[in-house]
Amino acid sequence: MKKVVIIDDEPLARSIIMEFLREYPVEIVAECENGFEGYKAIKTLAPDLVFLDIQMPKLSGFEMIELLEDPPYIIFSTAFEEFAIKAFEANALDYLLKPYSQERFDKAMAKFLGIKTGDKPQTTVLAAVPLEDHLQRIAVTSGSQIRIIPVNQVYCLEAYDDYVKIHTADDTFLKKQTLSFFENALDPRSFCRVHRSFLLQLAQVSRIGQLGKESHQAQLRNGFTVPLSRSGYPKLKQVLGL
């Protein structure tokens, strides 16, 4: 039997999905009311299909999927039509606009049931579209937990292969993302790309010093040092108004 997880912060929205699933040969293995529980449920129960709301407290549906390494098939169930395109790009199975009828729901399920055994979900780990203008928070996984880091607590970001190391005052997290993504998503008034591999928060710079004959580095409030590239050094000085 196929396993299904329902993730929506409104209990009635969850109950209607359960009601619509009544005639289907599926097992509802978990009902979650936010992205954190949803993440845990998906990691531990490995469902085949997930019904997912987008606007949820603290962690949006997109932010949650982004953290999954092996996402299952996803059917979005939301009142917002603005995210349909993003959902399409993420290769979601379907996008149900609340309120929807049993017939519309059945069309979505038909897509799921039509999947041949052996086909893998194509849900891509996509760049979580911030629901405001600039990224205000970054969701990372730490073990099986999700942590939300407010952007002002990020001292700097360091490129690391396919990942980005996010440095806070006394901890480091990894996120599968490119540094360029963060360069564009973060507020340029607060963050500056000073090196091919480094992005730092301007408020955390305590000193700029000389490293070698021609190179410079910036020291952050927690003692961490960030090398400045040849173009990064004047750029940083200009942004800081020096």
């Binding site: 912060d9 409104e10 209990p11 009635l12 929205a13 109950s15 209607i16 009601e19 009311e33 936010n34 954190f36 606007q55 949820m56 407290p57 603290k58 939301t78 009142a79 917002f80 039509e81 606009l97 609340k98 309120p99 929807y100 205000q136 928070r137 939300i148 407010p150 607590q153």
Partner: protein, 348 residues
């Protein structure tokens, strides 16, 4: 249908009439003197000097009394001032005579005609002061009008925004989805919810809304809204309403508290994971109705004191326009609770 020509702006009218009046007086003065036999040149000097002096004194008086507006203005109000001004002018002109005219001219045409000069100055001063008062009144009217239309605009915009907010996915479609869910599992509740939604929207979309409503009316409307949201969010939303008995008949501007509650829910419920209490308190504090809206927020990731876009700033602006004070709306954010307090003066 004939179209009347658009009237010239009152300021233009003001300057034109002043100019016309001034020139007429200059001319009149000069012609009288010539008729009496004075030399045109000297007559001109006399006209210019004495009238410019008078104009100067009038302007000075007008400027000095710019902010003085006695409670009851009438046409007779300025007679004493005009008389005083006329008398002072005559004396001043007499004192300056040696600098302006030769003795011959001064003796015949000035010293002998002091009384007529006084009356003319009195008339001119009186007309000038009345004219000035008229201009001040028009200026004040204009200011009142623009303040009034700004209040109207803000109220209308607040209303429109609230309606838009309610018809947006966040509220309307999620609520309809909830009704949809209840239809099979709890049809009685579904019907109740549908009726509540309908009542709520009917009040929100009403065309002729009074500018002020009582606290009990506003709470009834808000109560419906909160009931609907409670059903949507299940146990996660716990609204708490505490109203003093003495404040139920107090008056407040319509559409004032609604946006604040909408924001409290938006920020409270999407910032915090577990149960969220939204508290609305109302009580009388002397001549003020004090209303408070509180919601929890996460100090780390939450918006904290970040206004609420349109909501908070428009409330502050409306309160200023209606009551002329900036201190009626205060916000505070401590211990994870964001609080907005509004003091509404009761004017009866």
């Amino acid at each position: 249908m004939s179209q009347s020509p658009s009237p010239l702006h009152w300021r233009v009218q003001l300057y034109l009439t002043l100019l016309a009046g001034g020139l007429s007086i200059l001319l009149l003065h000069w012609l009288i003197l010539i008729n009496l036999g004075a030399a045109p040149g000297a007559a001109l000097t006399d006209s210019l000097a004495s009238n410019l002096l008078l104009l100067g004194m009038c302007l000075l008086t007008a400027f000095a009394t710019r902010y003085y507006s006695p409670a009851r203005m009438s046409m007779l109000s300025f007679i004493p001032s005009a008389a005083l001004l006329g008398a002072c002018w005559v004396l001043l002109y007499l004192a300056l005579l040696p600098m302006i005219h030769e003795e011959h001219f001064a003796d015949i045409y000035v010293k002998r005609g002091l009384l007529p000069r006084f009356f003319m100055a009195f008339l001119v001063a009186w007309l000038f002061l009345l004219h000035n008062r008229g201009a001040a009144m028009m200026r004040r009217n204009e200011e009142h009008e623009s303040r009034r239309s700004e209040v109207e605009n803000l109220a209308v915009t607040a209303e429109l925004n609230s309606i838009r907010q309610q018809l947006q996915p966040h509220f309307l479609f999620n609520t309809l989805n909830s009704v949809n869910a209840l239809i099979e599992t709890d049809p009685v509740k579904a019907r109740v919810m549908l009726n509540q939604l309908s009542d709520f929207l009917r009040t929100s979309l009403k065309k002729d809304r009074p500018h002020q409503i009582t606290v009990s009316e506003e709470m009834e409307h808000l109560g419906l809204y909160l009931e609907l949201e409670k059903i949507r969010f299940g146990t996660r939303l716990q609204p708490i309403i505490e109203l003093g008995d003495d404040c139920l008949d107090a008056l407040l501007p319509s559409m004032l508290v609604q946006p604040l509650v909408e924001n409290a829910i938006k920020f409270g419920l999407y910032d915090v994971l577990d149960t969220v209490s939204i508290t609305i308190k109302g009580c009388m504090k002397g001549p003020f109705l004090e209303l408070t809206v509180e919601n929890p927020f996460d100090p780390e990731t939450g918006s904290g004191l970040k206004g609420t876009g349109f909501g908070l700033s428009s409330v502050q602006r409306r309160m200023y326009l209606l009551f002329g004070r900036h201190d009626l709306v205060t916000t505070s954010a401590e211990n994870g609770i964001f609080r907005v307090m509004i003091k509404i003066p009761q004017l009866t």
